[in-house]
Every structure is written in structure tokens, then in C-alpha cells.
């Protein structure tokens, strides 16, 4: 029998649990679904997926609001005798009921499981259309299944289905991983990198601030060490390191020890550090005068070698700069750079060339900062300097190749942490990262920014971030920054606010058809490595004929001494990992 017109057999057409009936709403605000007697609001979290079976279309949407309502407003002021369980049971779902608001986002094929393309929803289901929870099959239809182009990142919060990222869309543009400290950004980034790496759709250059990605990372929550990219993909990943002392203490040596020549540092690199080093604009701009005075490639060394106030005063007069500004600039730079052992007068090898060699071979490079990862200016200096030069090469090459053959180079994704320091409104216009974020897609270079303070990033840069992966953010300004320009941001805010502080993230943007809150897949156990490597071995079998897996070790290219294991043991490593 039917008590309120909601019952019957609404689940018959769909796989998921019946929820209720559409009773009103709009496309912009979402349609209102009155819940069936047996559907409790407590079981329907904001952000969960709902399928609504219209007369001629199936709508896939997301719950963006859950409400309690009553047929009679007097129920609020004179509640019934709810101490009587009979009365409570009768009233729940009838006189007092729940509603959810569902924003239709996609149209699914009428026949579940068919291969028809998904289309964006531009209308709403009719009155009394039946809504049900999306089944695992519905979710799989929306997010695809794991294959060459799709990487499984996790499962929706209240489901078992797998959520896959469209890696091709992901690597085409700049992306961001955001979340407050301790929410698992590195953990998540590592997984995303593994996905990109397996897909071979893009090369990666990772500025690994805290040594999380190269050889091994840490899983703070479980207090264990997890494998880095080098352990999983020894043949495809080259580890570059800045901190010789730390790197030498572990079983496998880095492929390249990076040294930076003073001559490589340009005034632009100093300009980027202006905010971080708290240098006045006048002082920072004096680096251009210094370059003119001492000569390109020599100015920094010559400036740092100045001793005594008299010499600085004399120089200030010569180049017409405020003396105290120059003196403070000198002391800041000396304090910061004079004690960095990787800054040398004449580097043993050209690190940029070594990097390019690796990238050209289709390899991926992790630059580990070791102890210098805690030294933000050092991290910024190196990241900016290397990126600037790589950017120049990619730009030149892309322009030449496009002109000559009409083909493009392998895309490159550059991963930076503490991104707001490179991309703050004051710096973004000058830093190479700002340029890349704004326009380098056409030169096949994109960014993957990892940051805990997205509000510190220039809004213009944020608007170019195509796929955003957000762990929990508390600060309203950070949430605003992440949500700016996103449709349906109000509903996404409530989803974001409801995330747990670890292993959960909201993903929205290019790489997913609709925003999705996911429980991130496990990483760090033997099983998790196995499941990742199964996909990798499947892909490598399919692509072996066309791949560019290097046959030489990274270091041997440059003639750098290398651990025998690093090259000879690779095949064995792979065999062992791939089972």
C-alpha cells in the first residue's frame, strides 16, 4: 500500500537503494527529493551520489544539502510525545521527514552499463522521478575503470566503487594538491605521481623538499617507512640529490649529486626570494645593477666575496644604490648562501644538462633536498633556478620542433611544494613557476603544486589550476582560494569541511567528470604495492614496443661514478617487483 506516494518499487529500474521522490527544485539550486519513510537522513552524507530516474533520462548528481522538514509547522513548537516509540516511529518519515537536494550533473545512458557517452545535465528530472543511491556500477560508469588512461585514486566515501582520474586530462594542465599540514598531501601526491609515471603520458620533475618521493617516504600516521618512486620504478626514476651527507648513508646512492655554480644564479632568482628573505625591493633590484657592474655569471660570487663595510659602501657609491640597503642585502645573502655546500664556484657537471638528459629519455627525476629541504630559501633558489633553465630549453625546443615537424615534445610536469612561496601575488609575475602556471601548457610544461596555504597563491595562477585535489582545509581564505571559479562551490565547501583529517580528499576539475570526495587508496603495505605494480606491469607489457625505457643507468650518461647495483640490479628489481 502507499502511504504518501513515495513507495512502491522505486528501486526496480536502478541498482542502488531507493531514497525518495523528486518534489521540486531547479537546475542551479538542485532538485529536492523527499525521502521515503525508510530512508534516513543520517545515512545520506552530503557529497554522496544519487541517480534519479527521469521519464526519458537518467541523472547522476551529488547530494548538496540535507534538510529536516515537517508537514505542519506546529510540530516545531509543540513536538509530539516522542517518548512513545510508537508515535516516534509513525511520525518519522511522514509528518516529520527528510529531504535532500541533489544537483544533477551528468546524464547517464538509460541502460545501465552501456557504453554511451556521458553528457552534462542541462535540465532536471520531472516531478516524482525516483531517486536512489548510486550503485557501484553507476559510479564505475562515471569515473571509468582503471586502464592505460585511468588511475584509481580511491573510493567514494560511502561506497566500494573505484574512483579513477583521467590521467590524460590530468597531465595536460597544471594541477594542485592542497590541504592543511598533516592531512596526507605527500601521501596523496606520491600516489598521483605513481599514476602519471605508470601512464607514461608525462615526464616528472619533482622538487622533493622533505625526501618523500625519491627513495623512501614516511607514513607518519602508521609510523612506518614507505617505498618511494625509485624503489618501485628503479629503471624509470633518477634520483638527484643536494645533500651529499644524508644521501650517502643509505643503501642506494643517488644517481646525480647536484651542484649549483654561483655563475648560474641570476638576479631573477634573487627576486623570487625577496619575500622569503625579507629583502626590500630596492635591495633585491640592486642585483640587476650588480650584474651589470660585475658581469653576467660573476656578480654573485664577487658580491659575496666583498668584505668589510668600506668595500660595500664603495660599491654602493659606484652603482648608485642606497648603502644601507646594499649592506643589508649583502649580509642576508652571505648568511644564507655562503654556507650552502652545493653552491660552488665551478660545478663538477652541468646539473641542468644531466636533468634534461634524463627527461629526454622519458625518465622521471626526483631532486631530493635532504637537510636543505627545511631551508626554504635554499629550496626556492634551487627549484627556481633549475626550472628557469629547463623552462627555457623546453620553450626553445617546442618552438623549433613545432616549426620544423609539427610534433611536440614529451610533456613535463614539475612538482613543487610550498608553492605559495613561489606563486604569491608579489612573486608570481616574476618567478618561472608563475610563467609556467600561466602559459606553459602550450610549451608542454605544467605544474603540480603542493601547498598548505592556497590563499597565498596568486589568484591568476589558481585560476589556471585545472584539477584540484583538496584534503581538509580549515582556513576560510584557503577554502575560498581553492573554490574560486568552481561551479557549485557552496556544496563542495560542505563536502570539504566534512572530510576527515587524513586519507580523504575532494577532487574536482578536469581529470574527473564531477567532483568527488574519496577515501584515498592504501599505500605502504605489500598488498598496496602489489596492486599498483599489477597495473604497471600490465601497462608495460602493452607498451613495451613503443616505450622509451632507458637501457643505461642515469649516472653513466654523465660518466658519474655509480653503484653497480643501480644499473646491474635493475632488471632483478623489476622482476621481483613485478612478480
Amino acid at each position: 500500500m502507499s502511504t504518501n506516494g513515495n513507495q512502491g518499487d522505486p528501486g526496480k529500474l536502478m541498482g542502488g537503494t531507493p531514497l525518495g521522490t523528486v518534489v521540486g527544485g531547479s537546475l542551479s539550486e538542485g532538485v529536492e527529493v523527499k525521502l521515503n519513510d525508510d530512508a534516513s537522513v543520517e545515512d545520506i552524507p552530503v557529497g554522496s551520489y544519487v541517480v534519479i530516474q527521469g521519464e526519458t533520462k537518467r541523472f547522476f548528481g551529488m547530494v548538496n544539502e540535507v534538510k529536516l522538514a515537517a508537514t505542519d509547522p506546529r510540530l516545531r513548537t509543540t513536538p509530539a510525545n516522542l517518548s512513545d516509540p510508537f508515535v516516534a516511529e509513525v511520525l518519522s518519515g511522514t509528518a516529520a521527514y527528510g529531504t535532500i537536494t541533489v544537483r544533477p550533473r551528468l546524464l547517464l545512458p538509460m541502460i545501465a552499463g552501456s557504453d554511451a557517452e556521458l553528457a552534462p545535465a542541462r535540465t532536471v528530472p520531472a516531478h516524482f522521478a525516483r531517486a536512489s543511491k548510486a550503485s557501484d556500477a553507476d559510479v564505475a560508469q562515471v569515473f571509468g575503470v582503471e586502464d592505460d588512461r585511468h588511475f584509481a585514486v580511491g573510493t567514494p566515501l560511502d561506497m566500494e566503487a573505484v574512483v579513477c582520474l583521467d590521467l590524460k586530462a590530468f597531465v595536460e594542465r597544471s594541477n594542485g594538491v592542497f590541504g592543511k599540514s598533516g592531512t596526507g598531501k605527500s601521501f596523496l601526491t606520491r600516489l598521483l605521481l605513481i599514476g602519471v609515471l605508470q601512464s607514461r603520458l608525462s615526464s616528472l620533475l619533482i622538487f622533493d623538499m622533505h625526501d618523500e618521493y625519491g627513495w623512501a617516504g614516511s607514513d607518519a600516521e602508521r609510523g612506518r617507512q614507505v617505498k618511494g618512486l625509485k624503489q618501485l620504478f628503479p629503471a624509470q626514476v633518477a634520483v638527484f640529490a643536494l645533500d651529499a651527507e644524508k644521501s650517502m648513508g643509505r643503501p642506494v646512492k643517488p644517481d646525480v649529486m647536484v651542484e649549483i655554480g654561483y655563475g648560474d644564479i641570476e638576479p631573477e632568482d634573487i627576486m623570487v626570494l625577496r619575500e622569503t628573505l625579507n629583502i626590500s625591493e630596492v635591495a633585491a633590484e640592486s642585483s640587476y645593477s650588480l650584474e651589470r657592474h660585475f658581469g653576467k655569471g660573476k656578480w654573485l660570487k664577487a658580491f659575496l666575496e666583498l668584505e668589510g663595510r668600506d668595500a660595500i659602501f664603495e660599491l654602493a657609491n659606484d652603482i648608485n644604490i642606497n648603502t644601507s640597503a646594499l649592506a643589508s642585502f649583502h649580509s642576508r645573502l652571505t648568511n644564507r648562501f655562503a654556507r650552502l655546500p652545493f653552491l660552488v664556484e665551478k660545478p663538477a657537471q652541468d646539473s641542468v644538462q644531466a636533468l634534461m638528459d634524463q627527461l629526454d629519455k622519458g625518465n622521471h627525476v626526483v631532486l631530493e633536498f635532504g637537510r636543505y629541504g627545511d631551508d626554504v630559501p635554499a629550496y626556492m633558489l634551487v627549484a627556481n633556478l633549475l626550472t628557469r633553465r629547463i623552462y627555457a630549453r623546453y620553450r626553445d625546443r617546442q618552438m623549433t620542433e613545432t616549426a620544423e615537424k609539427g610534433k611536440s615534445t614529451t610533456p613535463l610536469s614539475i612538482v613543487i611544494e610550498e608553492a605559495h612561496r613561489f606563486l604569491s601575488p608579489a612573486v608570481a609575475s616574476q618567478s618561472t613557476f608563475g610563467i609556467i602556471a600561466r602559459e606553459m601548457r602550450k610549451y608542454n610544461v605544467t605544474l603540480l603544486v603542493v601547498d598548505q596555504r592556497p590563499s597565498g597563491i596568486d589568484p591568476e595562477v589558481m585560476s589556471q589550476i585545472a584539477t584540484k585535489v583538496c584534503c581538509l582545509l580549515d582556513d576560510d581564505r584557503d577554502v575560498d582560494a581553492v573554490m574560486t571559479g568552481t561551479s557549485g562551490s557552496r556544496e563542495l565547501r560542505s563536502v570539504l569541511a566534512g572530510l576527515e583529517s587524513r586519507q580523504q580528499a575532494l577532487i574536482f576539475g578536469n581529470a574527473v567528470p564531477i567532483p568527488v570526495a574519496v577515501r584515498i587508496r592504501d599505500y605502504g603495505t605489500a598488498d598496496s604495492y602489489d596492486s599498483l605494480m599489477r597495473v604497471a606491469s600490465h601497462r608495460s607489457a602493452k607498451k613495451s614496443s613503443s616505450s622509451t625505457v632507458p637501457s643505461e643507468s642515469a649516472s653513466s650518461v654523465r660518466g658519474e661514478p655509480v653503484e653497480p647495483q643501480a644499473s646491474a640490479g635493475r632488471k632483478d628489481d623489476e622482476d621481483e617487483l613485478f612478480g
Partner: protein, 183 residues
């Protein structure tokens, strides 16, 4: 004794022999079902008032025994609201096209008939929309009695309660009053 499309009045063969308030009765063939909403016992001759008797009697029963004419001069009537009728094997929860006839026999429904009729609860609409006095008490009484004829009385009460909640969606006070009567 008197019939309309929405209800009828019947005289009981025995004084005080009326079915309980709220009980389901059946009349005629094809059956018309109705719920007893009022029971009246009064003088048969409405022009003659009943006199008080038994001032010297010890018990009420002795009054009747010593005045056997009372049973002849008084009569018990029931009034019932039509809530449905049979069409072939089916039961329709709406008014019949014509009311029961005068002198038609009225029967109390047995438990199986009550269970079968109250399996559907659409008749509650006819009851809740009736304007007879104390109809809410009648509804509560009807559902209490009906529950006893179902194999799972609690489940029936909840089902009926929810059906009532849908009928009385805008009148939570009335709904509460009836629910208190069912519980």
C-alpha cells in the same frame, strides 16, 4: 432505519446489543461496509419520555427484572459511516453508488473480514473527513479493534499511523490525539 449515501442508522434486535464503537459492520449484498460511530439507546416512542424507576430497588438488574416492559419500550440504535463496499471479490474504499436499503440486515464483521478490509487503509480518508462528533475517538477505536484482528498488531498500528499521518499532514495536533488513542 434510515440510510444516506454516507451512512445509516440501524436498530439492534436486542436492547444494548450494539457492536462496539468503531467496529466494522457489513450490510446488504453486495456488501456495504461501515464503521459504527454512534450508539443510542432511547424510548421507541420519541414522544414519550422515559421515567426514572427503581428508587426502591437494590440493583440496576432488579429494575429491569421487575419492569419487563422496559425492554419493549426502549431500543438501541447504531449509526455507522460508510467506508467502502464490495465489488465482486474486490473491496473499494469509496462510497457505493446507492445506499443500503431500509430493513437490510446489518452484521458485525468477524476478525477475518476485518483483517481483509483493513488490509487497505484508504478508508481512513472517509473517516478523517467526516464531520460527525468525536470522529477522532471513533478512528482510534476502529484502529484499536482492527489491530486485534491482524496477525501482527504492532506492525498494523504503525502502518495505520503512517497512513493517518499522510491524511492529517497539516494538522499535527489532531494526528497526535488519534495516535494517543491507538497506542
Amino acid at each position: 432505519m434510515e440510510t444516506t449515501s454516507t451512512g445509516f442508522m440501524a436498530q439492534c434486535y436486542e436492547l444494548y446489543g450494539a457492536p462496539a464503537l468503531g467496529s466494522l459492520v457489513r450490510v446488504g449484498d453486495p456488501a456495504v461496509y461501515a464503521v459504527v460511530h454512534n450508539v443510542t439507546t432511547a424510548a421507541l416512542d420519541l414522544g414519550r419520555r422515559v421515567m426514572a424507576r427503581g428508587a426502591s430497588e437494590a440493583t440496576e438488574e432488579a429494575v429491569y427484572n421487575n419492569n419487563p416492559q422496559i425492554a419493549r419500550l426502549l431500543a438501541t440504535h447504531i449509526e455507522a459511516l460508510v467506508v467502502g463496499h464490495g465489488v465482486g471479490e474486490a473491496t473499494k474504499y469509496r462510497l457505493p453508488s446507492s445506499p443500503p436499503r431500509i430493513h437490510a440486515f446489518v452484521y458485525c464483521c468477524d476478525a477475518s473480514e476485518v483483517a481483509a478490509f483493513t488490509d487497505g487503509l484508504d478508508y481512513l480518508h472517509l473517516l478523517t473527513s467526516a464531520s460527525t462528533p468525536a470522529i477522532d475517538e471513533v478512528i482510534a477505536a476502529n484502529l484499536r479493534l482492527a489491530a486485534e484482528s491482524h496477525s501482527d498488531p504492532d506492525a498494523f498500528r504503525i502502518r495505520a499511523g503512517k497512513a493517518l499521518a499522510a491524511e492529517l499532514a497539516g494538522d499535527i495536533a489532531r494526528l497526535n490525539a488519534i495516535l494517543r488513542g491507538i497506542a
